[in-house]
């Protein structure tokens, strides 16, 4: 005995192909109700009618693909056809709208926006400082670095900018068009600084909420970047720790396949002080240890575990310290 069904009706069919029992979707049909029904069927559940038949015939097997290849299956009438086409349209649109409820996608947008802003900020800020420094020869480019874009952006002329920065007026001055361009550029940098902060703060907030434990281990921005690279928290949680260790080091991994030595860590892990501030001969060991901890951390977050507290994080840092102390000297080359 088999049960064939689609969204309209369900049939119990015996081994000779005879229809033994049949149930129609008899309650009020509407576009919304049909869309819900189709979503249920799509996820692999039975229609309510098929479920009733399955209870009625305990030995019957429900076949999701049965109705499709059943030559005796009735065709849709015109009303049903119209209802179906409206419902599929609504369901598809609903799916498109629901993509916004997906934290992976939101974190992707946010974290990618933040890193793109970071990249362009670095370029623009450096250009602004060098440009202003060319005219203001007395400027301390390292000590006063942070004040420069603001001072230039708010000044009316290069002399005013010099005054605001506490140095004497320059000997060679930019032309007025040149000054306009310089000031415009500085204003851009100031504005970019604000945008970068907003984007990074928002990324941190979302990451702390979405992956609290991983955020504590590698920092919220690093955690966000890992999720983006893995294309989703679920995929990151299911990743072996070895993959996580080199996540994002795809160029180095490709070189490894052609014979180069394997990468010791991904850029995300390298940005951790535990690794980047350690001597190079222990970086691989610490990266492997940290990758293991990260992979446990993201599993804790994804599979609803208890987030780690400060004590557990401190324990990890102590262990990193131990590894470093165990290898005080670089290995001898053989």
């Amino acid at each position: 005995m088999r049960i064939h069904f689609d969204w309209r009706l369900a049939r119990a069919i015996d081994s000779d192909g005879n229809v033994v029992d049949e149930l129609d979707w008899s309650s009020k049909r509407s576009v919304g109700a049909l869309a819900d029904r189709l979503a249920e069927l799509q996820s692999g559940r039975l229609s309510p009618e098929a479920r009733t038949l399955a209870e009625r015939f305990a030995d019957a097997e429900a076949d999701h693909l049965g109705a499709m290849s059943d030559s005796g299956w009735p065709e849709l009438d015109e009303d049903e056809q119209a209802l179906f086409s409206e419902a599929t349209d609504r369901l598809a649109r609903r799916g498109v709208a629901d993509a916004a409820a997906d934290f992976d996608r939101r974190l992707d947008m946010l974290s990618s926006a933040a890193s793109e802003l970071r990249a362009s900020w670095t370029t623009s800020e450096a250009r602004c400082v060098e440009w202003a420094g060319l005219f203001l020869a007395e400027l301390d480019l390292d000590g006063q670095r942070r004040e420069i874009p603001c001072a230039v952006a708010e000044a009316g002329s290069i002399d005013e900018a010099a005054k605001a920065l506490g140095i004497s007026a320059p000997e060679h001055k930019p032309s007025s068009a040149e000054w306009e361009a310089l000031r415009g550029h500085a204003r851009g940098v100031v504005e970019l600084t604000g945008r970068l902060e907003t984007a990074e703060d928002a990324t941190r907030e979302l990451a702390r909420e979405y992956v609290p434990t991983l955020s504590r281990v590698v920092g919220p921005l690093g955690a966000a970047k890992m999720i983006v690279l893995a294309r989703g928290r679920e995929r990151l949680a299911r990743m072996p720790s070895g993959s996580l260790q080199v996540l994002g080091a795809s160029g180095a991994m490709a070189a490894h396949r052609r014979g180069a030595p394997p990468p010791k860590h991904s850029p995300t892990l390298f940005s951790l002080p535990q690794i980047s501030k350690s001597p190079r001969w222990v970086r691989g060991k610490i990266a492997r240890f940290m990758a293991g901890k990260c992979s446990i951390a993201v599993r804790v977050d994804h599979f609803d575990g208890e987030p780690w507290d400060e004590e557990q994080i401190a324990e990890i840092n102590r262990e990193c310290e131990n590894i470093r102390n165990r290898f005080p000297k670089p290995p001898k080359r053989g």
Binding site: W7, L41, Q42, G44, L65, S69, D89, G95, V96, A99
Partner: protein, 236 residues
């Protein structure tokens, strides 16, 4: 001197190196493609550099019309993307206002692509947009009215051939036509060079119940892509 058009089916014709389909929505291009009038019929250019099916129709060594579905038939398109190719298949299978009574089920997993596909479907009766995983038979089954006469699979995943055997096995009608587009880059996760990956796919298809009619190399139009034209032998 204009080339004489060759008819490949009710709504598809070939003029030299270009393909055209009978536009089901008059006056509207889907992706800004050229349109032209020939007496009362409007034809829409089918760009073979953007559509693997079009490329295969131009490059096949056999009769290209064997690779097209019949108007009014049931078609399944796995990996529909934004629906450029789907729109041409729809032109041919459904026609304006779906007067042929065809059904084209277009499955796509990405909401970003589905956005464009829903806009397309709202103007084209008979085209069913499905947001879902094209590798799972029961996720597609509720939408298709019967087994498919024609199906095309174009997913950017590894193991396309295995997925194709599974999906076509579930959905293709005996005697139906199946097309499988393979992109070398998507199969990169498996070992070997491009040729051995294609050979592996060919072996999987060869061991299945399907009969491989032709293996079409799309080089020149879509580099590093091949398209398999297969047939599910009719049971009798």
């Amino acid at each position: 001197m204009p080339r004489r058009p060759v008819k490949l089916g009710w709504g598809v014709r070939r003029e030299g190196r270009s393909l055209w389909t009978r536009n089901a929505v008059r006056g509207i291009s889907v992706r800004g493609e050229r349109r032209k009038r020939d007496s009362r019929i409007e034809w829409r250019a089918w760009d073979p550099t953007r559509s693997k099916v079009a490329a295969a129709l131009l490059l096949t060594g056999n009769d290209a019309s064997d690779m097209l579905p019949e108007p009014g038939s049931t078609c399944l398109y796995l990996g529909a993307s934004t629906g450029s190719t789907v729109s041409h298949i729809h032109d041919h299978v459904c026609g304006a206002g779906n007067h042929h009574g065809g059904q084209v089920v277009a499955v796509e997993i990405s909401p970003r692509m589905m956005r464009d596909l829903t806009a397309l479907a709202s103007k084209r009766p008979g085209l069913v947009p499905v947001l879902g995983d094209a590798r799972i038979p029961h996720a597609v089954a509720p939408y298709i009215r019967s087994q498919a006469d024609w199906m095309h699979q174009d997913l950017s995943i590894a193991d396309q051939a295995q997925t194709f055997v599974k999906m076509a096995g579930a959905f293709l009608k005996p005697g139906g036509t199946g097309l499988l587009s393979l992109k070398a880059a998507s199969e990169r996760s498996s070992d070997g060079d491009d040729d051995s990956r294609f050979a592996k796919a060919a072996r999987i298809l060869g061991e299945s119940e399907f009969e491989v009619v032709e293996r079409i190399d799309l080089a020149g139009l879509e580099d590093q892509h091949i398209l398999f034209h297969v047939l599910l032998p009719a049971t009798d």
